[in-house]
Point group: C2
Chain length 203, copies 2
């Protein structure tokens, strides 16, 4: 097999029938309080059958909240699967039928107490493509006004106001490793440098 | 609650007893071919009990393979949970007891046929901290020599040689959304700019 040298739209819209997997049968094999796991029988491109197991996820939203002084509103939160506190941007799961922007506003307010005058969508990421259909929308928020947050019952987290340069140093040093937060910083830095654009937001 | 204004080491090593969750009981509630799901009863900081469900994952390695001409060795692969082809850096799961570097070399060779003379570890990311303990080590590879790949049975993927500027445009346009791949580009660009350092690798 020779490597391809496609570019741009060709790279994205190249023929994919030789890669495509078709669903033969699908069943829910675990339905918990938080997680739903589906197991599908699939047909591979060569006609053989195989199994795929994955999390069915409603999707989520992350907010990069920028104070007028340039600092970022972030959270320190215990992440049980990793048994440690992580420094992250605010984020939360979409409720059924909820527009992403509404989710962004709701999660930012509930978790931090901040409301924002200006909102813009930067993009989307897929964080576990081998075993989850989760997508995380990336939203930016400006014109922040502090208020009283309303954490869900059983939710505990600290708010930290973090300088972007400080966040960059923590990421470079391997002290911040949350994927969505790294990508939030990536969007912030590329946008501030005028390299990546966010509709409706000028740096 | 007043927001914190900690910096650097203070931000990382701040007291966390008021955030910590303790394990009360743990059970495996799903053990499939690919996924293992655990459900734990936990004690919250206020003494109440709650449930946590998460994927137990062995960890993975991603490789950012740089050809001498500056292009990157990437893959187009069908990702069943998303029902589409994704453009991504080579990656794979750690086998039991396997050092990350060995895994990086093995996955790069098996999936692309390339061997690399020089390897360096950039960092690590955690991609689904709400419901998985997965970590992905980020490795850079240089001095690449092409060979014959050895895909696992049932594995189908295309190799693409992609210019870094082209990858940047695809990420900025929202056409590349795989989290590990976005972070691979972030490391690459910050390293090339002399901003983030990778032990043993000079830009």
């Amino acid at each position: 097999m020779r490597p391809g040298h496609r570019q741009g739209a060709q790279l994205l819209n190249a023929p994919d029938d030789h890669l495509r997997e078709e669903t033969v049968a699908s069943e829910t094999v675990f339905a918990g309080r938080l997680l739903e796991v589906r197991r599908d029988r699939i047909r591979l491109p060569d006609g053989a059958e195989a199994t795929r197991e994955f999390i069915v996820h409603p999707g989520a939203v992350m907010v990069v909240p920028m104070l007028d002084d340039g600092r970022l509103v972030m959270e320190r939160q215990w992440r049980y699967p990793l048994a440690r506190v992580m420094l992250e941007f605010p984020a939360g799961k979409l409720e059924r039928g909820e527009p992403a922007r509404d989710c962004a506003q709701r999660e930012l307010f509930e978790e931090t107490g901040y409301r924002a005058a200006h909102w813009a969508r930067a993009g989307v990421l897929h964080n576990a493509i081998a075993y989850s259909n989760e997508h995380i929308e990336i939203w930016f928020a400006r014109g922040l006004v502090a208020g009283q947050r309303r954490l869900d019952e059983g939710e505990f987290l600290d708010i930290e106001l973090v300088d972007a340069g400080e966040l960059d140093r923590l990421c470079a040093a391997g002290a911040v490793t949350d994927a969505k937060t790294l990508i939030g910083l990536q969007w912030l830095q590329n946008w501030r440098a005028g390299r990546w654009s966010i509709d409706g937001f000028t740096p």
